[in-house]
């Protein structure tokens, strides 16, 4: 925490970002949205918000996420319910991605495969207001086909373009009333960069803490990025 005498108390009433329920948190997500979903494998996946979106019955989503779900959980729930038009991810076909595999083979979902580091950096670029970036990743491979190649200081780079989304759904460890977030171990993964790259950022946090109780040095996502949140502890996911 800050040294004594260096904290100024809040006097104004700060905007309430806590949604009454997961259903309310996702109520304004429209059909056809581009949705970033945090998580890597089973780690840091916003399962409760996924459940809420499935219950709402949204259709035609483009999902940006590293994986395509684990067995019936995570992104696989979206897929199984027919919510997804297209997946943008790095690792679509893990052993446990049976739901996606079946839909893809049946021609019922589109796929864009992006190298994982380029996926993360495209999201970062989208959040940082950049027009893209040059990466050595993918030079000479089919994943660079159709992309511009530029030579800088004698080395070839692929021009990768930014990714943004209408909505990001995020899994955090702690949240305070400002929406400041911490994460839990490797559950951090894509969550912090996705927070920066979506018009609306909806968070499920394991625990809500009082304003001022998080050490400012350990806050990873400042609340300015967060639109609203639910406290996951109160709701059990179907997982």
């Amino acid at each position: 925490m800050l040294p004594e005498g260096l904290t100024t108390p809040v006097t104004a009433r700060i905007k309430n970002k806590r949604a009454a329920s997961p259903a309310e948190a996702v109520a304004d997500v429209k059909d056809g949205s581009v949705v970033m979903v945090g998580g890597f494998g089973r780690g840091g996946v916003p399962e409760i918000l996924i459940d809420a979106l499935c219950d709402k019955g949204v259709k035609g989503l483009t999902i940006i996420s590293n994986n395509t779900g684990t067995h019936e959980t995570g992104i696989a729930r979206f897929l199984k319910q027919g919510c997804v038009k297209k997946m943008i991810c790095s690792f679509p076909f893990a052993t446990e991605s049976n739901v996606f595999r079946d839909l893809y083979n049946a021609g019922k979902v589109d796929l864009e495969v992006v190298p994982q580091g380029s996926l993360a950096e495209r999201i970062r670029a989208g959040g940082a207001g950049l027009g893209g970036f040059l990466t050595p990743t993918g030079v000479g491979t089919e994943l660079a086909q159709g992309k511009q190649i530029l030579t800088v200081n004698g080395r070839e780079y692929v021009l990768e373009l930014p990714l943004r989304a209408d909505v990001a759904i995020i899994r955090a460890r702690q949240v305070d009333p400002r929406g400041n977030l911490t994460y839990r171990m490797a559950g951090r993964n894509f969550n912090p960069v996705m927070c920066t790259a979506a018009d609306k950022v909806i968070v499920e946090a394991i625990e809500e803490v009082e304003l001022g109780s998080l050490d400012p040095e350990v806050i990873i996502t400042p609340g300015l990025y967060v639109t609203r949140y639910v406290v996951a502890g109160k709701y059990s996911s179907r997982v």
Partner: protein, 227 residues
């Protein structure tokens, strides 16, 4: 040599993991890919301070929990298996995790492979017949690491050499592999060509050459694999 006789002399995946682990030097930061490479973790000599990087933002990835009741979804390897964190380890988000790779901070990466070419071209992300595949972090890690170690069986199930003149499988990263570790040999990728450094006991360097498509340079210093 017939298949049954060959099977008896080839390294097991555990023996191969032990050999690769011996290559990791004190003070290195090393990325391990999905599958066979993860097996190397427990075999790093105890007096060498080697830290493992996992693409999902773990610096200091260590062995699985001794008691699996401690396994946690928020602490998994790239292959989604439960792991622990080395004392003094840390976490970063995904964009930073790959900045570590492309930014040249990885002393080595250990990756599985379908094919490696004479010039170090790596093919490891999808089979030629598949419509598409799961690239994961392979491309970013292979281009970024200071050294890329390919860890694989020497030949396919059909007996074809996985070390090739030119990759026929889809490319992962051009000129990236620096050393190849197989169940038959250790082969360095050098500007002058492929140098056979070690061969499995029970075979001769000539046997390894017979199982390998490109011509190997066989120096006088060639020796049996120890692990």
């Amino acid at each position: 040599m017939n298949v049954a006789a060959l099977a008896k002399v080839l390294l097991t995946s555990e023996q191969l993991a032990k050999r690769v682990a011996l290559e990791l030097e004190d003070g290195w930061l090393v990325n391990v890919g999905i599958g066979m490479p993860t097996q190397c973790l427990p075999f790093v000599p105890a007096d060498r301070d080697v830290q493992f990087h996992s693409e999902n933002g773990i610096i200091g990835m260590a062995r699985p929990p001794k008691d699996l009741k401690h396994a946690d979804n928020d602490l998994l390897s790239a292959g989604k298996g439960p792991v622990t964190l080395l004392q003094g380890g840390s976490f970063v988000h995904h964009a930073d995790s790959f900045a570590i790779s492309r930014g040249g901070r990885l002393d080595a990466a250990i990756l599985g492979a379908y094919q490696v070419a004479v010039n170090g071209d790596l093919a490891n992300w999808r089979l030629p017949k598949a419509r598409t595949g799961s690239v994961g972090g392979a491309m970013d890690i292979a281009v970024g690491a200071k050294r890329t170690f390919a860890m694989m069986t020497h030949v396919t199930k059909d007996g074809e050499s996985k070390i090739v003149n030119k990759v026929s499988y889809p490319m992962t990263a051009q000129r990236s592999v620096t050393k190849i570790f197989t169940d038959m040999a250790v082969v360095a990728v050098m500007p002058e060509g492929l140098v056979l450094e070690e061969y499995v006991e029970g075979l001769t360097p000539a046997d390894v050459q017979a199982a390998t498509e490109p011509k190997l340079i066989i120096p006088k210093t060639v020796k049996p694999i120890r692990f």
